[in-house]
Protein backbone atom coordinates (compact mmCIF):
# COMPACT_ATOMS: atom_id res chain seq x y z
CA UNK A 1 0.00 0.00 0.00
CA UNK A 2 0.99 3.62 -0.44
CA UNK A 3 2.50 5.36 2.53
CA UNK A 4 1.10 8.68 3.72
CA UNK A 5 4.36 10.31 4.77
CA UNK A 6 3.27 13.87 5.60
CA UNK A 7 0.22 16.07 5.96
CA UNK A 8 0.82 19.80 5.64
CA UNK A 9 -1.86 22.37 6.43
CA UNK A 10 -0.96 25.99 5.91
CA UNK A 11 -2.13 29.38 4.80
CA UNK A 12 -1.41 30.54 1.26
CA UNK A 13 -0.27 34.10 0.90
CA UNK A 14 0.06 35.32 -2.70
CA UNK A 15 2.48 38.11 -1.72
CA UNK A 16 5.11 35.72 -0.34
CA UNK A 17 6.74 35.12 -3.71
CA UNK A 18 7.24 38.81 -4.45
CA UNK A 19 8.39 39.50 -0.90
CA UNK A 20 10.94 36.69 -1.01
CA UNK A 21 12.42 37.94 -4.31
CA UNK A 22 13.27 41.44 -3.10
CA UNK A 23 16.80 42.31 -1.98
CA UNK A 24 16.95 42.83 1.82
CA UNK A 25 17.26 46.62 1.57
CA UNK A 26 14.05 46.82 -0.47
CA UNK A 27 12.05 44.22 1.43
CA UNK A 28 9.48 44.95 4.14
CA UNK A 29 10.67 44.70 7.78
CA UNK A 30 8.82 41.42 8.27
CA UNK A 31 10.25 39.77 5.14
CA UNK A 32 13.33 38.10 6.64
CA UNK A 33 11.40 36.39 9.43
CA UNK A 34 8.70 35.32 6.98
CA UNK A 35 11.24 33.75 4.61
CA UNK A 36 12.99 32.03 7.50
CA UNK A 37 9.73 30.50 8.74
CA UNK A 38 8.75 29.33 5.27
CA UNK A 39 12.14 27.72 4.72
CA UNK A 40 11.87 25.92 8.06
CA UNK A 41 8.41 24.74 7.09
CA UNK A 42 9.66 23.57 3.68
CA UNK A 43 12.14 21.30 5.46
CA UNK A 44 9.23 19.42 7.08
CA UNK A 45 8.07 18.29 3.64
CA UNK A 46 11.55 17.62 2.30
CA UNK A 47 12.25 15.33 5.26
CA UNK A 48 9.26 13.15 4.34
CA UNK A 49 10.72 12.37 0.87
CA UNK A 50 7.36 12.29 -0.94
CA UNK A 51 6.87 10.92 -4.46
CA UNK A 52 3.49 12.54 -5.14
CA UNK A 53 1.54 15.46 -3.67
CA UNK A 54 -2.21 15.62 -3.17
CA UNK A 55 -2.92 19.35 -3.01
CA UNK A 56 -6.07 20.86 -1.50
CA UNK A 57 -6.97 24.42 -2.42
CA UNK A 58 -9.75 26.59 -3.79
CA UNK A 59 -10.20 28.30 -7.13
CA UNK A 60 -10.64 32.07 -6.73
CA UNK A 61 -13.07 32.61 -9.64
CA UNK A 62 -10.52 31.74 -12.26
CA UNK A 63 -11.64 28.63 -14.11
CA UNK A 64 -14.65 27.73 -11.97
CA UNK A 65 -17.58 30.06 -12.37
CA UNK A 66 -21.12 30.52 -11.10
CA UNK A 67 -22.66 28.85 -14.18
CA UNK A 68 -21.25 25.51 -13.04
CA UNK A 69 -19.82 25.56 -9.52
CA UNK A 70 -18.81 22.25 -7.92
CA UNK A 71 -18.61 21.90 -4.12
CA UNK A 72 -15.53 19.69 -4.55
CA UNK A 73 -13.51 18.93 -7.68
CA UNK A 74 -10.52 16.71 -8.44
CA UNK A 75 -8.15 17.40 -11.31
CA UNK A 76 -7.33 14.41 -13.50
CA UNK A 77 -4.82 15.47 -16.10
CA UNK A 78 -1.20 14.77 -17.04
CA UNK A 79 -0.26 18.44 -16.59
CA UNK A 80 -1.63 21.56 -14.93
CA UNK A 81 -0.72 25.04 -16.00
CA UNK A 82 -0.59 27.40 -13.08
CA UNK A 83 -1.51 31.01 -12.33
CA UNK A 84 -3.57 33.56 -14.20
CA UNK A 85 -3.13 37.00 -15.71
CA UNK A 86 -4.75 38.73 -12.74
CA UNK A 87 -2.40 36.89 -10.35
CA UNK A 88 0.61 38.04 -12.35
CA UNK A 89 -0.84 41.53 -12.35
CA UNK A 90 -1.71 41.78 -8.66
CA UNK A 91 0.83 39.52 -6.96
CA UNK A 92 3.69 39.18 -9.45
CA UNK A 93 3.27 35.41 -9.47
CA UNK A 94 5.10 33.49 -12.20
CA UNK A 95 3.40 31.12 -14.61
CA UNK A 96 4.42 27.51 -14.17
CA UNK A 97 3.49 24.00 -15.27
CA UNK A 98 2.96 21.17 -12.80
CA UNK A 99 2.96 17.48 -13.56
CA UNK A 100 -0.17 15.51 -12.77
CA UNK A 101 -0.58 12.01 -11.34
CA UNK A 102 -3.55 10.71 -13.29
CA UNK A 103 -3.58 7.27 -11.73
CA UNK A 104 -4.02 8.64 -8.22
CA UNK A 105 -6.59 11.17 -9.46
CA UNK A 106 -8.61 8.39 -11.10
CA UNK A 107 -8.38 6.22 -8.02
CA UNK A 108 -9.59 9.01 -5.72
CA UNK A 109 -12.48 9.88 -8.03
CA UNK A 110 -13.66 6.28 -8.39
CA UNK A 111 -13.33 5.37 -4.74
CA UNK A 112 -14.83 8.61 -3.45
CA UNK A 113 -17.86 8.20 -5.71
CA UNK A 114 -18.35 4.74 -4.30
CA UNK A 115 -18.22 6.21 -0.78
CA UNK A 116 -20.94 8.76 -1.57
CA UNK A 117 -18.68 11.73 -2.25
CA UNK A 118 -19.88 12.92 -5.65
CA UNK A 119 -16.73 14.73 -6.66
CA UNK A 120 -16.61 16.70 -9.88
CA UNK A 121 -13.59 16.23 -12.10
CA UNK A 122 -11.62 18.24 -14.62
CA UNK A 123 -9.38 16.93 -17.41
CA UNK A 124 -8.05 20.41 -18.18
CA UNK A 125 -7.50 22.50 -15.10
CA UNK A 126 -5.43 25.63 -14.78
CA UNK A 127 -4.64 25.85 -11.08
CA UNK A 128 -4.41 29.17 -9.28
CA UNK A 129 -2.43 30.53 -6.36
CA UNK A 130 -4.11 28.29 -3.79
CA UNK A 131 -2.11 25.45 -5.39
CA UNK A 132 0.90 27.33 -6.75
CA UNK A 133 1.67 29.26 -3.53
CA UNK A 134 2.40 26.08 -1.57
CA UNK A 135 4.49 24.79 -4.48
CA UNK A 136 6.50 28.00 -4.27
CA UNK A 137 6.84 27.77 -0.48
CA UNK A 138 7.30 24.04 0.24
CA UNK A 139 8.40 22.51 -3.08
CA UNK A 140 9.90 25.28 -5.20
CA UNK A 141 11.73 22.82 -7.45
CA UNK A 142 8.24 21.77 -8.62
CA UNK A 143 9.45 18.27 -9.42
CA UNK A 144 6.61 16.08 -8.11
CA UNK A 145 3.36 15.04 -9.78
CA UNK A 146 0.25 16.37 -8.09
CA UNK A 147 -3.43 15.65 -7.66
CA UNK A 148 -5.25 18.96 -7.19
CA UNK A 149 -8.44 18.97 -5.13
CA UNK A 150 -10.54 22.11 -5.15
CA UNK A 151 -13.13 23.03 -2.56
CA UNK A 152 -15.77 25.74 -2.79
CA UNK A 153 -15.14 28.12 0.11
CA UNK A 154 -16.06 31.10 -1.99
CA UNK A 155 -19.46 31.04 -3.69
CA UNK A 156 -22.47 30.25 -1.47
CA UNK A 157 -24.13 27.86 -0.91
CA UNK A 158 -21.02 26.24 0.56
CA UNK A 159 -20.63 22.73 1.96
CA UNK A 160 -20.78 22.81 5.77
CA UNK A 161 -17.64 22.47 7.93
CA UNK A 162 -18.60 18.90 8.88
CA UNK A 163 -18.49 18.00 5.20
CA UNK A 164 -14.94 19.30 4.86
CA UNK A 165 -13.84 17.21 7.85
CA UNK A 166 -15.57 14.18 6.38
CA UNK A 167 -13.90 14.63 3.00
CA UNK A 168 -10.57 14.83 4.80
CA UNK A 169 -11.31 11.55 6.61
CA UNK A 170 -12.34 9.92 3.34
CA UNK A 171 -9.19 11.09 1.57
CA UNK A 172 -7.13 9.68 4.44
CA UNK A 173 -8.80 6.29 4.08
CA UNK A 174 -8.27 6.35 0.33
CA UNK A 175 -4.61 7.31 0.44
CA UNK A 176 -3.90 4.72 3.15
CA UNK A 177 -5.54 2.04 0.99
CA UNK A 178 -4.07 3.06 -2.39
CA UNK A 179 -2.41 0.02 -3.93
CA UNK A 180 0.91 1.66 -4.75
CA UNK A 181 4.46 1.74 -3.44
CA UNK A 182 4.61 5.50 -3.61
CA UNK A 183 5.10 7.94 -0.75
CA UNK A 184 2.23 10.41 -0.65
CA UNK A 185 2.12 13.81 1.03
CA UNK A 186 -1.06 15.86 1.27
CA UNK A 187 -0.62 19.62 1.25
CA UNK A 188 -3.68 21.78 1.87
CA UNK A 189 -4.00 25.53 2.16
CA UNK A 190 -6.66 27.85 3.50
CA UNK A 191 -7.01 30.91 5.68
CA UNK A 192 -7.51 31.93 9.26
CA UNK A 193 -9.62 35.06 9.78
CA UNK A 194 -9.55 37.13 6.62
CA UNK A 195 -11.44 40.02 5.08
CA UNK A 196 -11.22 40.90 1.40
CA UNK A 197 -13.29 43.64 -0.20
CA UNK A 198 -14.87 44.72 3.10
CA UNK A 199 -14.35 47.47 5.69
CA UNK A 200 -11.88 45.46 7.79
CA UNK A 201 -9.49 44.48 5.00
CA UNK A 202 -5.73 45.03 5.20
CA UNK A 203 -5.64 45.97 8.87
CA UNK A 204 -2.51 45.60 11.01
CA UNK A 205 -3.54 42.02 11.92
CA UNK A 206 -6.12 39.51 10.79
CA UNK A 207 -9.65 40.84 11.39
CA UNK A 208 -10.20 38.47 14.34
CA UNK A 209 -7.01 37.69 16.30
CA UNK A 210 -9.08 35.87 18.93
CA UNK A 211 -10.36 33.36 16.38
CA UNK A 212 -6.87 33.03 14.92
CA UNK A 213 -5.45 32.11 18.33
CA UNK A 214 -8.21 29.56 18.89
CA UNK A 215 -7.84 28.12 15.40
CA UNK A 216 -4.11 27.62 15.82
CA UNK A 217 -4.78 25.68 19.03
CA UNK A 218 -7.50 23.53 17.44
CA UNK A 219 -5.24 22.59 14.56
CA UNK A 220 -2.05 22.07 16.56
CA UNK A 221 -3.87 19.86 19.06
CA UNK A 222 -5.92 17.90 16.53
CA UNK A 223 -9.01 19.14 18.36
CA UNK A 224 -11.54 18.38 15.64
CA UNK A 225 -14.46 18.16 18.04
CA UNK A 226 -13.64 21.44 19.77
CA UNK A 227 -13.37 23.12 16.39
CA UNK A 228 -16.61 21.63 15.08
CA UNK A 229 -18.44 22.61 18.28
CA UNK A 230 -17.76 26.29 17.59
CA UNK A 231 -17.47 26.62 13.82
CA UNK A 232 -20.50 26.82 11.56
CA UNK A 233 -21.12 28.39 8.18
CA UNK A 234 -22.82 31.29 9.97
CA UNK A 235 -20.12 31.71 12.61
CA UNK A 236 -17.44 32.08 9.96
CA UNK A 237 -19.01 35.27 8.62
CA UNK A 238 -18.27 37.31 11.72
CA UNK A 239 -14.45 37.00 11.85
CA UNK A 240 -14.06 38.31 8.28
CA UNK A 241 -15.86 37.87 5.00
CA UNK A 242 -13.25 35.47 3.53
CA UNK A 243 -12.86 33.32 6.64
CA UNK A 244 -14.68 30.38 5.09
CA UNK A 245 -11.26 29.45 3.75
CA UNK A 246 -10.69 28.08 7.25
CA UNK A 247 -12.75 25.08 6.18
CA UNK A 248 -9.81 23.90 4.10
CA UNK A 249 -7.87 23.66 7.37
CA UNK A 250 -10.77 21.62 8.76
CA UNK A 251 -10.50 19.24 5.81
CA UNK A 252 -6.83 18.81 6.65
CA UNK A 253 -7.69 18.19 10.31
CA UNK A 254 -10.02 15.43 9.16
CA UNK A 255 -7.14 13.94 7.21
CA UNK A 256 -4.76 14.14 10.16
CA UNK A 257 -7.23 12.77 12.70
CA UNK A 258 -7.17 13.36 16.45
CA UNK A 259 -3.43 13.93 16.63
CA UNK A 260 -1.28 16.80 17.70
CA UNK A 261 0.71 18.30 14.85
CA UNK A 262 4.36 17.29 14.79
CA UNK A 263 5.27 20.80 13.68
CA UNK A 264 3.36 24.01 14.38
CA UNK A 265 4.37 27.57 13.71
CA UNK A 266 2.68 30.85 12.88
CA UNK A 267 3.44 34.45 12.00
CA UNK A 268 1.28 37.50 12.60
CA UNK A 269 1.39 39.60 9.42
CA UNK A 270 -0.51 42.68 8.33
CA UNK A 271 -4.11 41.70 7.46
CA UNK A 272 -3.70 37.98 8.21
CA UNK A 273 -2.01 35.40 10.38
CA UNK A 274 0.16 32.88 8.60
CA UNK A 275 0.17 29.35 10.01
CA UNK A 276 2.20 26.22 9.31
CA UNK A 277 1.39 22.69 10.51
CA UNK A 278 2.81 19.28 9.64
CA UNK A 279 1.86 15.79 10.76
CA UNK A 280 3.87 12.63 10.11
CA UNK A 281 1.24 9.86 10.32
CA UNK A 282 3.87 7.12 10.19
CA UNK A 283 6.54 8.84 12.22
CA UNK A 284 9.17 11.46 11.38
CA UNK A 285 11.42 10.40 8.52
CA UNK A 286 9.60 7.08 8.01
Amino acid sequence: MAKLVAILATTHHPFFYKTSQLPPDEAAPFAAEWVRKVEAYRATLTAARPDVLVMVGSDHFHQLWLDNMPPFLVGKAPHYDGNYYNEEREFGLPRLVLKGHEELSGYILREALDREFDLAFSNELRVDHSITCPIITVRPQNDLPIVPIYTNIFAPPLPRPERFVKLGRTLRELVDAWPSDLRVAVVGTGHLSLELGGPRQFGPHGPDPELDAKAVEWIANGDIDGCLSEVTLDSLHAPGNATHGFMDFMLMMGLAGYHKADYADNLDLFHTMEAYFTWYPNGVGE
Binding site: N86, P156, L196, G197, P199, R200, Q201, F202, N241
Partner: protein, 120 residues
Protein backbone atom coordinates in the same frame (compact mmCIF):
# COMPACT_ATOMS: atom_id res chain seq x y z
CA UNK B 1 -31.66 41.89 -8.17
CA UNK B 2 -29.33 40.20 -10.61
CA UNK B 3 -26.27 39.68 -8.43
CA UNK B 4 -25.19 36.92 -10.74
CA UNK B 5 -25.00 39.29 -13.68
CA UNK B 6 -23.13 41.95 -11.70
CA UNK B 7 -20.62 39.29 -10.70
CA UNK B 8 -20.41 38.14 -14.32
CA UNK B 9 -19.56 41.66 -15.39
CA UNK B 10 -16.82 41.98 -12.74
CA UNK B 11 -15.47 38.51 -13.56
CA UNK B 12 -15.33 38.92 -17.33
CA UNK B 13 -13.84 42.41 -17.20
CA UNK B 14 -11.21 41.51 -14.60
CA UNK B 15 -9.80 38.64 -16.66
CA UNK B 16 -9.34 40.74 -19.81
CA UNK B 17 -6.54 43.37 -19.75
CA UNK B 18 -8.15 45.43 -22.53
CA UNK B 19 -11.51 45.49 -20.81
CA UNK B 20 -9.90 46.51 -17.51
CA UNK B 21 -8.49 49.61 -19.24
CA UNK B 22 -11.69 50.29 -21.12
CA UNK B 23 -13.79 50.09 -17.95
CA UNK B 24 -11.38 52.37 -16.10
CA UNK B 25 -11.48 54.99 -18.85
CA UNK B 26 -15.15 54.80 -19.83
CA UNK B 27 -17.27 53.08 -17.18
CA UNK B 28 -20.72 54.07 -18.47
CA UNK B 29 -19.88 53.23 -22.08
CA UNK B 30 -18.30 49.92 -21.15
CA UNK B 31 -21.29 48.88 -19.03
CA UNK B 32 -23.74 49.77 -21.82
CA UNK B 33 -21.69 47.88 -24.43
CA UNK B 34 -21.21 44.89 -22.15
CA UNK B 35 -24.90 44.63 -21.25
CA UNK B 36 -25.87 44.78 -24.95
CA UNK B 37 -23.18 42.48 -26.30
CA UNK B 38 -21.87 40.24 -23.55
CA UNK B 39 -24.36 39.89 -20.70
CA UNK B 40 -26.17 36.95 -22.29
CA UNK B 41 -23.12 35.13 -23.56
CA UNK B 42 -22.76 31.77 -21.79
CA UNK B 43 -19.06 31.56 -21.08
CA UNK B 44 -18.62 27.94 -22.09
CA UNK B 45 -20.90 28.06 -25.15
CA UNK B 46 -20.55 29.45 -28.66
CA UNK B 47 -22.10 32.84 -29.44
CA UNK B 48 -25.24 31.48 -31.12
CA UNK B 49 -26.22 29.61 -27.99
CA UNK B 50 -26.55 32.58 -25.71
CA UNK B 51 -29.08 33.24 -22.97
CA UNK B 52 -31.99 35.57 -23.66
CA UNK B 53 -33.06 36.97 -20.30
CA UNK B 54 -30.20 38.59 -18.42
CA UNK B 55 -30.27 42.33 -17.69
CA UNK B 56 -29.10 44.67 -14.93
CA UNK B 57 -31.51 46.49 -12.67
CA UNK B 58 -31.30 50.25 -12.92
CA UNK B 59 -29.45 50.44 -9.59
CA UNK B 60 -26.92 47.82 -10.66
CA UNK B 61 -26.30 49.55 -13.97
CA UNK B 62 -25.81 52.85 -12.18
CA UNK B 63 -23.42 51.41 -9.58
CA UNK B 64 -21.26 49.81 -12.25
CA UNK B 65 -21.41 52.84 -14.53
CA UNK B 66 -20.19 55.14 -11.75
CA UNK B 67 -17.50 52.85 -10.28
CA UNK B 68 -19.44 52.84 -7.02
CA UNK B 69 -17.86 49.98 -5.08
CA UNK B 70 -19.81 50.90 -1.94
CA UNK B 71 -23.14 50.42 -3.72
CA UNK B 72 -21.90 47.16 -5.21
CA UNK B 73 -20.97 45.89 -1.74
CA UNK B 74 -24.37 46.92 -0.39
CA UNK B 75 -26.08 45.02 -3.21
CA UNK B 76 -24.23 41.82 -2.40
CA UNK B 77 -21.83 41.75 -5.35
CA UNK B 78 -19.04 39.30 -4.56
CA UNK B 79 -16.51 41.41 -2.63
CA UNK B 80 -13.50 39.47 -3.93
CA UNK B 81 -14.44 40.19 -7.54
CA UNK B 82 -15.01 43.87 -6.90
CA UNK B 83 -11.80 44.30 -4.91
CA UNK B 84 -9.63 42.50 -7.45
CA UNK B 85 -10.89 44.60 -10.35
CA UNK B 86 -10.65 47.84 -8.35
CA UNK B 87 -7.04 47.08 -7.46
CA UNK B 88 -6.34 46.54 -11.17
CA UNK B 89 -7.95 49.85 -12.08
CA UNK B 90 -7.05 52.18 -9.25
CA UNK B 91 -4.03 50.99 -7.28
CA UNK B 92 -1.86 52.85 -9.79
CA UNK B 93 -3.38 56.16 -8.66
CA UNK B 94 -1.95 55.82 -5.13
CA UNK B 95 1.71 56.25 -4.28
CA UNK B 96 1.85 54.42 -0.93
CA UNK B 97 1.55 50.60 -0.68
CA UNK B 98 -1.97 49.53 0.35
CA UNK B 99 -3.23 53.13 0.28
CA UNK B 100 -5.83 52.24 -2.30
CA UNK B 101 -7.00 49.19 -0.37
CA UNK B 102 -7.25 51.16 2.89
CA UNK B 103 -9.19 53.96 1.20
CA UNK B 104 -11.50 51.35 -0.32
CA UNK B 105 -12.09 49.90 3.14
CA UNK B 106 -12.63 53.31 4.76
CA UNK B 107 -15.45 54.06 2.33
CA UNK B 108 -17.17 50.86 3.56
CA UNK B 109 -16.71 51.72 7.24
CA UNK B 110 -20.46 52.23 7.78
CA UNK B 111 -21.21 48.63 6.71
CA UNK B 112 -21.88 46.63 9.88
CA UNK B 113 -22.28 42.90 10.33
CA UNK B 114 -24.02 40.99 8.99
CA UNK B 115 -22.77 42.13 5.60
CA UNK B 116 -25.17 41.92 2.64
CA UNK B 117 -25.87 38.41 1.42
CA UNK B 118 -23.63 37.43 -1.50
CA UNK B 119 -25.51 34.24 -2.38
CA UNK B 120 -26.48 33.96 -6.03
Amino acid sequence: MSKYLVNKFLFTVDRDPDLVERYRADPAGTVAWWEAERANQILNCVAGEASTWLAFTEAEREALATHDHVALFEMGAHPFLTLTLWIAMFERDHSEPLAMQLDYAAKLRHCALPYPDIST
